[in-house]
Assembly symmetry: C2
Homo-oligomer: 412 residues x 2
């Protein structure tokens, strides 16, 4: 079994946190100065590990093993949420680097081909899982042109130009090269910790549907416009969300989640009746039937509120939507065996409520994911953290699974 | 009767609109570059009209007649909402300028003392009616230090410094100088137009109470945090506003209004459960008992929601609150007589749903206000407008009332 170096892994994780550090977390949204600085640092570390490295035209950082033959691709992301946790994405990327180093240091595994990637914009500052979608050749020119920063409306093309990526080639996958794609990640939820488990073998990744709702009323003076004359876009939004909350509760499955993470009223002054309002509604489940039911209900609620007036309401899907993705059975078996080796009786199979690049890669390669616990279930917050022993255990388990898959490409 | 010059008035109004013009409206929030440019232009126009002019340390633009004796002060404001109408404030300021010119051109009135002011930040970018409060000596050092931009949180002191006002003296009123304060304004509501009236004599100005509600939950991942684990600050805000709307409806009088003009969720990402949310709630009435009832209800709703959890909610009054202000009876009689002269049978007495500098001045001087119709009742929007004949009629009526008050300081 290859021996990973826990200290080296932890040093890399801690160094990466210093780039864009904010409290105990990080601010490295896709294509920001700090995101690009982290990618440059990663390229250097990967070169030092003997990989052939490059950054492609959408910001994917790629390290290719000099070894020939079919190999494993390990990846995740180093971009973050507006205020993200230090391990979200970085953990999986640096697991890849550490496993590559560990395999190279062991004469029994030195010939194995393991490539690694840090996919760009997994968090969807411009487009969720942009890098892995591009690598899997799933993006049209139209998708690229429409993509824009969901907070500032800056077009993706302008962000790429600012990051110095305009005109650089993009990479797409050679499926012949790989036995499987592996990704490790912090769970980002409370389940592992709550049940005293140390590892999670992912069975499927939720589908995600996101909608933009736009409300058009009449901006007016908050003192002189009688209540019955108002076309208040903000109140229309608030009452619609109230209805959605009530209706979704009756349609939801045990793991369904829905979120209104963004609300904006215009012009945003205490003395002005909002004339325009906007919100993003997102819901997730591994069951497509539930997703369909929530979508139909949303359409119906919007239609009824729009018809009732006095505010016009527009509903638009925010592309690209994320389809529900099952993880490969064989890869799951290998990850389960590794989990049992490193956390006997203390691991579970579980779905992923979060979207991950693995759900994109799963459409092209046998893919699998391994979770480590999140302390308090906290994620997408600077307070996100994982116990050091769980970080190290996760890397060991992923190294074992990697070795198994390469030694026995068809283990079942 | 002094003869105002309609063309000169309209030219001034149209020129002022070009400073910060945005579509048919203007963007001149307090202490912005465009606001200061407009003040500078106004100083020049006032000097040309023979006034002694200066700008004081809080941005008030003041023009003093060289004539001795007790006079009239005419004022309003030239700062705007984030996207404001072209006449909101500007109308009253340029009425003052035109009336001063008209009186000076008539040998029967050339000796009258009429001063004018453009008060700073009436719209409350930093503090509503900052300039008139300062002029009436109602501000403590603490008020000044606490004041900040309600959108950007920039302190008032920084805005004053940027505008080059740091260290300049502030002016306060000499009450012996004035018989009365007069302010004309667009109605900003639908009542005059809907009833076919051309002028409104204001009886009282609404009290305004504004509250900031802050919601503290737990920021978390929108995919992995089960609904029952969430402390969603955004949902807590939305459900609380829903409750306020329902309860306020039962407590409201015929002219009560309440507004949620500002809502902010943090961090504002579609994939993150909001950990913090903030909103501004404002309500207005001329009846203090209704204001008290709405305030008590708000406190109760917040307390109950806070106790129920899981989100902490904090309620804070946004100082300074605006007290209900009655207009002076004698001044009302003069304005009513002038209204009957210029719009026989086509004027009404009415309360003001909007706050105005006159409500501050009313605490120190006999004060009165005159309204002209707003087309479609639209205000605090770039679409705000008033028919040219109504603009001119309003100026004539205010000139008549000014002359009456100066000729017969005690007309009743």
């Amino acid at each position: 079994m290859p021996e990973i170096n826990p200290q080296r892994l932890m040093n890399d994780l801690r160094h990466l946190r210093t780039i864009g550090q904010y409290g105990t977390g990080v601010i490295r949204p896709a294509f920001s100065t700090k995101d690009m600085e982290a990618r440059q640092w990663l390229l250097d570390r990967m070169s030092a590990a003997g990989l052939k490295t490059f950054m492609d035209g959408v910001g994917n950082v790629f390290g290719r093993s000099p070894n020939p033959g079919r190999g494993i691709l390990i990846g995740s992301h180093t971009d973050t949420q507006p205020q993200g946790g230090w391990l979200d994405g970085s953990l999986g990327v640096l697991y890849g680097l550490e496993i590559i180093r560990a395999l190279a240091e062991d004469r029994r595994t030195v010939h194995f081909a393991v490539d690694m990637a840090s996919w760009s914009d997994e968090e969807g500052t411009y487009m969720s899982m942009l890098g892995s979608r591009s690598f899997c050749d799933m993006l049209t020119r139209d998708d690229m042109e429409r993509a824009q920063n969901h907070l500032t409306a800056q077009p993706l093309s302008a962000a790429l130009e600012q990051a110095g990526l305009t005109g650089m080639p993009t990479t797409t996958m050679d499926p012949e090269r790989y036995v499987a794609y592996l990704e490790a990640h912090v769970e980002q939820g409370p389940h592992l910790e709550a049940q005293g488990n140390h590892l999670g073998v992912v069975t499927a990744i939720v589908g995600i549907r996101t909608f933009r709702l736009t409300f058009k009323g009449q901006q007016n003076h908050a003192g002189t416009t009688p209540m019955e004359y108002r076309k208040d876009a903000g109140i229309a939004l608030i009452e619609l969300v109230h209805d959605i909350n009530r209706e979704f509760t009756t349609l939801a499955g045990p793991r369904t989640v829905w979120t209104i993470g963004y609300v904006h009223l215009e012009p945003g002054s205490p003395s002005v009746v909002p004339g325009r309002a906007e919100m993003l509604l997102q819901f997730r489940d591994t069951d497509d039937k539930i997703l369909d039911a929530l979508e139909s209900k949303t359409i119906r609620i919007v239609e009824e509120a729009h018809k009732k007036g006095p505010v016009d309401i527009d509903l638009a899907a925010v592309p690209p939507q994320c389809e529900t993705a099952g993880m490969d059975e064989t890869v799951q078996v290998c990850l389960a065996a590794a989990a049992e080796t490193h956390a006997p009786g203390r691991w579970i199979r579980m779905p992923s409520g979060a979207g991950h690049d693995a759900q994109i890669l799963a459409q092209r390669l046998p893919a699998g994911m391994l979770f480590v616990p999140s302390i308090g279930g906290i994620s997408h917050d600077i307070a996100e953290d994982t116990a050091e022993e769980d970080i190290v255990r996760g890397c060991r388990a992923l190294a074992t699974a990697t070795e198994t898959l390469l030694r026995h490409p068809n283990p079942v």
